[in-house]
């Protein structure tokens, strides 16, 4: 029995959450399903004008991604809290923020990555110019991890609070706004064939900020929730 290294612990936490998700694919499906539903809801309302659809597509994709990722937030720490795993994590000699990063990574792989992968389908639905696909994937790839990170804060803060799960979302959505704005503008700009390095670099910067700051915030919130 040797001392477990930092990263092996992180990997195990990640692995665990992924395993649980795989065993009950429900959550995963729900997220994707919601994403697609939201995206397919608008064409019906809009009617024939395709250029209108083309304009709203980026925004819709992003809002859908935003809302979809909030769906799984409530369960992010709640189950660990209920079954006592969280206590064990708080008592772990490894830095808590490390375990948190593991969990957030898992959350992104479960609720964020699938959206990125399926997004081209939606772009097709709103017939986006093919050039903008790359931009969309990039933007989502940079943006969705941020959604998970920010969402994690909300989830940790509302841990152990009764309610219909609305509070978490209410706390988190305002913080999502910058991601939403730059993400969607990246897509629409690239659709009109312009340069989007600006938006992407902003997203990247935000992501770095998030990676630096959120694990701390989440760990603090978790300790507060349990004591």
């Amino acid at each position: 029995m040797e001392r477990a290294g930092f990263f092996s612990t992180l990997i195990w936490v990640l692995k665990r959450d992924l395993l649980v998700a795989m065993r009950r694919r429900g959550d995963l499906a729900a997220t994707l399903f919601f994403f697609v539903m939201v995206a397919s809801l608008f064409p019906m309302g809009v009617g024939p004008e395709p250029q209108m659809l083309r304009i709203m597509a980026p925004g819709i994709v992003w809002v859908a991604a935003l809302l979809a990722s909030t769906l799984s937030l409530n369960r992010l720490f709640a189950s660990d809290y209920a079954d006592g795993t969280l206590e064990q994590m708080l008592l772990s000699p490894e830095p808590l923020s490390l375990l948190v990063i593991g969990k957030m990574l898992a959350h992104w792989l479960i609720s964020g990555l699938p959206l990125v992968l399926i997004s081209p389908l939606i772009a097709l639905q709103f017939d986006q110019p093919v050039e903008s696909y790359g931009a969309m994937l990039l933007a989502l790839l940079l943006g969705t991890p941020l959604l998970s990170l920010i969402g994690g804060i909300g989830a940790a803060l509302t841990l152990g609070i009764r309610g219909s799960g609305v509070l978490t979302t209410l706390l988190v959505l305002p913080l999502y706004v910058p991601v939403l704005i730059f993400g969607s503008s990246a897509i629409s700009t690239s659709a009109s064939g312009m340069d989007i390095s600006g938006q992407l670099s902003v997203l990247a910067a935000l992501l770095l900020l998030g990676l630096a700051a959120t694990p701390w915030a989440i760990s603090t919130a978790l300790r507060i929730a349990v004591e």
Binding site: I153, L157, T158, I161, R162, G163, L167, L170, L171, L173, P174, L175, V177, P178, I181, F182, S185, L206, A213, A217, T220, A221, I224, A225, E227
Partner: protein
């Protein structure tokens, strides 16, 4: 050390009690003066006619709303780091007033928007960011309301306020930037060409009045909070029995 002396509720409670009325008085007088200037001295605006007179509450409210959030976050942060009870109480006392001003800014703005742009609501940069700010306030208050254990509520809300404070500027500028993207459709809220200095003067006075009001209300609310929380402490009981006998 003096600062820490006043960071204890026991010493702050009576102090706040003494100060609050004076700020309240100042707020009242300044409001009267400001409104007098606003309505009787300031001339009609050649562009908007009388509609612009909303500015005397709208703008102070708008700025107060943003400023109070930062102040709140600051107190919350201090409370989280130094674990001083009073700071957290201050943060709590600030939230409702901030939310109130945000709401006022939004409604007066809407009421201003109808005559000037012909619509109650437009997704203009400042309006949008104000709306988001309102949600930040509401989130803060909702979170605090839904955690029974007050110490926990304070800490959790402190984290939220800090995260929010980091985001407020990011949100504000990203919204600004977003709005310039879609300049075509958005309505301009650029400063009316030349606001007569007397208008600015009135606006400024109302701004100070809003300040005084906030301070007065917050101090009073802090006293309430101290009462609610420190009920079982000795000093408060003594104080109360004094008040009761007096």
């Amino acid at each position: 050390m003096n600062l820490f002396k006043y960071s204890s509720p026991a010493t702050f409670y009576p102090l706040a009690g003494k100060l609050a009325p004076w700020f309240g008085l100042a707020a009242g007088l300044l409001t009267v003066w400001g409104l007098y200037i606003g309505f009787f001295r300031a001339p009609t605006d050649f562009q908007q006619g009388e509609a612009y007179r909303i500015i005397f509450i709208h703008v102070p409210a708008a700025w107060m709303s943003m400023f109070l959030y930062l102040v709140m976050a600051a107190w919350a942060g201090v409370g989280l780091v130094f674990n001083t009870r009073l700071s957290s109480m201050m943060a709590n006392a600030l939230a409702p007033t901030g939310a109130m001003f945000t709401f006022v800014a939004l409604v007066t703005g809407a009421l201003w928007g109808k005559p000037t742009w012909g619509t109650w609501w437009a997704w203009d940069a400042r309006m949008t960011s104000e709306l988001i700010l309102l949600f930040l306030y509401l989130g803060y208050m909702a979170l605090h309301a839904s955690i029974e254990d007050i110490r926990r509520a304070d800490k959790a809300c402190a984290v939220l306020a800090l995260v929010g404070a980091v985001n407020v500027p990011i949100i504000y500028y990203s919204v600004k930037w977003w709005n310039t993207l879609h300049q075509g459709a958005s309505v301009s809220m650029t400063a009316a060409p030349k606001m007569a200095s007397i208008m600015l003067q009135g606006m400024f006075i109302m701004m100070v009045a809003a300040w005084m009001y906030s301070i007065a209300v917050v101090l009073t609310r802090v006293r309430r909070i101290i009462r609610e929380r420190e009920r079982q402490t000795v000093w408060l009981r003594e104080l109360q029995t004094e008040e009761a006998t007096a």
